[in-house]
Amino acid sequence: MEKLNDLRFIIGMFFGLAGAMLFVLSFFTDGGKEFGRSLNHFAGAGMLVFGIFMLWLSKRSE
């Protein structure tokens, strides 16, 4: 429960989940947009990395 109080953990969880969702989605659809697949791929990867970084910061502060 104490971990949940850490904002870095909350931000890390949100962007980790959202990033993973976009990254996986990029393998299945381009949404009919020219840059669709690349955008989901790289934005998803970027959010995932950011999320993991925030989780690492949170873990490090324990």
Binding site: M21, L25, T29, G31, K33, G36, R37, L39, N40, M47
Partner: protein, 552 residues
């Protein structure tokens, strides 16, 4: 323009709603007193107060409005950042926070009470409380209209949903919950909009591509300002520097409790000073996130055939749709959900900032001094919570009022500008001139507000103003507002000085901690230079100057 959402988009939006309410629920356990609920127990870490400081201002007006201005006026919009924000944020951190924080005031109006008197506090508290409610309601109205336009969502459902979510997380966790969510919203807005900028710049060939296709006035921030008629904004150097850069900017960033509150909840004085200075670093870079989409939207039709800014009711480009239309143009399902959530976050962040500032000012500056002076802390905690609910309900009322009367937004913006324009003069003299008196401050505030109204009544721009008679016409509404601001600021300074010199000053020993010269100033405990407020402020100032020069 109508967007079609898919399952992945809804999943992101729902996940965001779950997270923001969960933040409130998690924080709820820590809220045991009115100080916890309304002041976060003055225990929030520096990185959070800094990001919350700019996020509280990162509302709809900034995200949608600045991209619209970028499309309409070009890179000159950056004046709202590199002239109209950074210098004031640095001034607040270095010179004003020692008085706000050091005086132990719980709010900006309370500082006025300590420094001047009750009537000056009341005037500021009442006008501020009214303005926050109207701002929150108008934010709600614009959000609901946008969702109606681009998603086809029902207006009533959007209003009630956004209000319900903001109310839930503030009611549960108070200011801490709002501040935590503001930080989440900040990252969401930046990461949700940044892909538009990357892919847009890629398609138009970078900044050079924009410069090659747009007129030089759209891509130079200072070059065409010698005469107001030479640039799309219709402003000259004097009005930008004195009106926007001094009166309006310092009036907002240094005295508006909505933003100053984020610095006042830092753990100690040095952190409260560093809050606006650290915040100035991402703030300085925000034009690349919020103004560049507007420039890209104007340049893109020169490079591709399947994009144009949507047209408005008058047949011309609807610049407010510049950012939403780019999101619709580029984003596939999934990222579209992130982009829309970023827009939702910007509205909710603005709304929550206003509500948390309102409940603090109402409880500490209106309810406590005028209704129940001495009661238990539990009582004031309850008042803070009830005020949150009442504030949200009143905001909903304003949203419907705005929906019923088209001109009410314009009218309120004008009235707010009358009140805000002279405000900084009162604080400037209060903090740096010990001779300033309560009667002087009150008279100066009233005279400054009346001067703003008088200038508006005697001058006209874009068909607005001139309701007394027209003695001068300004080239644009912005020029009108900037000039009105520095004139009312000057009147406030003059009247405050004159009346103060005619009235009895307070004894110097009663002004300790409130006025420069009578307050020991902290110079920073940190050993590393980059962790001390003044050197940090110098670095940020240099960075701001460089940005001004690059885009001059």
């Amino acid at each position: 323009m109508r967007l079609e959402l898919h399952l992945a988009d809804y999943a992101i939006i729902v996940m965001y709603f779950i997270f923001v309410i969960a933040v409130g629920w998690i924080i709820k356990r820590q809220v045991k007193s009115s100080n916890d609920f309304l002041m976060s127990g003055r225990s929030v870490p520096l990185w959070i107060t800094s990001l919350a400081f700019i996020s509280a201002n990162l509302g709809a007006q900034e995200v949608i409005g600045m991209s619209a201005s970028g499309a309409k006026y070009g890179i000159m919009t950056s004046h709202f950042y590199w002239v109209g924000a950074i210098p004031a944020m640095i001034f607040l951190g270095v010179l004003m926070m020692p008085f706000y924080y050091g005086s132990q005031a719980r709010s900006v109006p309370e500082y006025l009470k300590l420094r001047f008197d009750e009537k000056t506090r009341s005037l500021n508290a009442m006008s501020f409380a009214a303005m926050t409610l109207f701002s929150s309601g108008i934010s709600m109205y614009v959000l609901a209209r946008l969702l109606e336009l681009i998603l086809g969502w029902d207006f009533d459902v959007s209003v009630l949903l956004s209000a319900g979510i903001v109310m839930a997380y503030i009611f549960l966790g108070g200011l801490t919950s709002a501040v935590y969510n503001e930080v989440l919203q900040f990252f969401l807005i930046v990461l949700g909009i940044a892909p538009v900028v990357f892919v847009g710049l890629h398609e138009v060939g970078g900044w050079e591509g924009i410069v090659s296709k747009l007129s030089p006035e759209m891509t130079s921030s200072w070059k065409y300002m010698a005469d107001a008629g030479d640039n799309p904004m219709g402003v000259d150097t004097w009005s930008v520097v004195m009106g926007l850069g001094l009166a309006m900017s310092f009036g907002y960033w240094c005295t508006d409790f909505l933003v100053v509150q984020r610095a006042m909840i830092a753990r100690n004085l040095i952190d409260s000073q560093k809050t606006p200075i650290f915040a100035a670093i991402p703030k300085m870079l925000m034009p690349f996130i919020v103004i560049f989409p507007g420039l890209i939207a104007v340049a893109l039709p020169h490079f591709v055939s399947d994009y144009a800014i949507p047209t408005g009711a008058d047949g011309g480009p609807d610049y407010n749709m510049a950012l939403p239309s780019l999101i619709a143009h580029y984003y596939p399902e999934g990222l579209l959900g992130v982009g829309l959530t970023a827009l939702l976050a910007s509205f909710m962040s603005g709304m929550a900032g206003n509500v948390t500032a309102f409940n603090t000012v109402w409880t500490f500056d209106i309810y406590q001094p005028y209704f129940v002076k001495k009661a238990s802390d539990k009582h004031y905690l309850m008042v803070g919570k009830v005020t949150t609910v009442v504030g949200i309900i009143a905001s909903i009322g304003v949203a419907y009022l705005a929906a019923s009367f088209n001109n009410i937004n314009d009218f309120l913006q004008v009235v707010f500008s009358f009140v805000n324009a002279p405000l900084f003069a009162t604080f400037l003299l209060g903090m740096f001139w010990k001779r300033a008196t309560g009667h002087g401050a009150f008279a100066g505030l009233l005279a400054g507000t009346l001067a703003a109204a008088l200038v508006h009544g005697l001058t006209i721009a874009e068909g607005k103003g001139g309701w007394i008679t027209v003695v001068h016409e300004y080239g644009s509404g912005l020029s009108h507002a900037f000039n009105m601001a520095w004139m009312s600021f000057s009147v406030n300074i003059l009247v405050t000085i004159l009346v103060s010199l005619m009235t009895k000053p307070r004894a110097p020993e009663t002004l300790k901690g409130l006025v420069y010269g009578l307050t020991p100033l902290a110079h920073g405990e940190a050993k590393a230079w980059y962790l001390r407020p003044v050197p940090l402020a110098i670095v940020v100032t240099v960075g701001c100057l460089i940005l001004n020069l690059i885009f001059a």
